[in-house]
């Protein structure tokens, strides 16, 4: 009867109930039941830190290289912009495919095929941007020309 008038003390009460009446249960309750797992078997929790850091470093690099490339145009900076954009968008799309094209949802083959297709598209993007830089005016100049037209 004393329990019903102490609702704010409920959480600590539940803890002591479990520990007093069923101590074997409190140990199990401490370990959470996991219903999720990494999208790819290669993406283990400890590996992702380096990738995460690389993503942020590249993002900051991209933020820096864009204004510099527009202020001091040069072929080297054109290629740097193309490389940074291609890798940044590759990692972004990889996250999208890993989030939505999950094995449970689309099957193991399609989930792996999506990641493979992403690698193909990013490689194509990098090659096409480099081709544009080499044979044509270059990415920075192209944007400037669109604005001058």
């Amino acid at each position: 009867m004393a329990l019903l008038c102490g609702f704010r003390r409920l959480p600590c009460l539940q803890r002591s109930v479990v520990q007093v009446t069923a101590p074997w249960l409190s140990a199990r309750a401490a370990a959470p039941l996991s219903v999720s797992r990494p999208a790819l078997s290669s993406q283990l929790a400890e590996d992702h830190v380096k990738h995460w850091n690389a993503e942020r470093l590249l993002t900051v690099g991209l933020l820096g290289v864009l204004p510099v490339a527009f202020t001091f145009p040069s072929p080297a900076l054109d290629y740097a912009v193309a490389l940074s954009v291609a890798v940044h968008s590759h990692w972004g799309m990889e996250a999208i495919f890993a989030d939505y094209a999950r094995p449970k949802r689309v099957g193991v083959f399609l989930s792996k095929a999506a990641i493979g297709a992403n690698y193909f598209m990013s490689a194509f993007l990098l090659g096409a941007l480099f081709y544009f830089n080499y044979t044509d005016v270059g990415v920075v100049e192209a944007v400037k020309m669109l604005w001058r037209a």
Partner: protein, 171 residues
């Protein structure tokens, strides 16, 4: 809550005068402690086999600035990626150079309007993604997570991106 009721019933049972009520209260409490643990796969397979429906999520959750800006960040990133992919792919396939096609499109009928429109359509996703990206980097440093700051920075990103795109479109 259920645990408390069981404990209450146990303490009540200890002081209970009625023998029948005491017995039923004690046996119910001791029986209900059994908990079965499934692995993730067993749990999912069991639910599939039983044909249990999934609770509604996207269809019922309220649209909020936080979630809307998050998905827009993803969508603009995807849009910029595929836009660039199409542009670069087309430039690989087409025979002439970029200046040739630019003068062709700019000089065509309605060229001025086409230019302003294309400048806005290219600028807004770029500016939104860039400004919201900076907002993300600030979060990665561990700052700006209070609800007030989230909404302030969110509205700032939307406003600044529209402003920047409008300026870029008419310049």
């Amino acid at each position: 809550m259920a645990l408390c009721l069981r404990l209450a019933s146990r303490s009540v049972a200890a002081n209970c005068s009625s023998r029948i009520l005491q017995k039923s209260l004690l046996t119910t409490s001791s029986r209900s402690w059994a908990i079965q643990q499934y692995s993730a796969e067993e749990w999912e397979r069991k639910n599939e086999k039983m044909g249990r429906p999934l609770s509604p999520h996207l269809t019922i959750y309220k649209f909020q600035l936080t979630s809307m800006l998050s998905i827009t960040h993803r969508a603009t990133g995807m849009g910029l990626h595929f836009g660039l992919l199409c542009f670069a792919g087309v430039m690989v396939l087409l025979p002439n150079s970029y200046p040739y096609y630019l003068t062709l499109l700019a000089g065509s009928g309605g060229g001025k309007a086409l230019l302003v429109a294309s400048k806005f359509i290219i600028s807004w996703p770029f500016f939104f993604h860039t400004f919201n990206g900076i907002r993300h980097l600030v979060w990665d440093m561990g700052k700006g997570f209070s609800i007030k700051t989230l909404y302030k920075s969110g509205y700032a990103v939307v406003g600044l991106s529209i402003l920047a795109a409008l300026v870029a479109a008419v310049v």
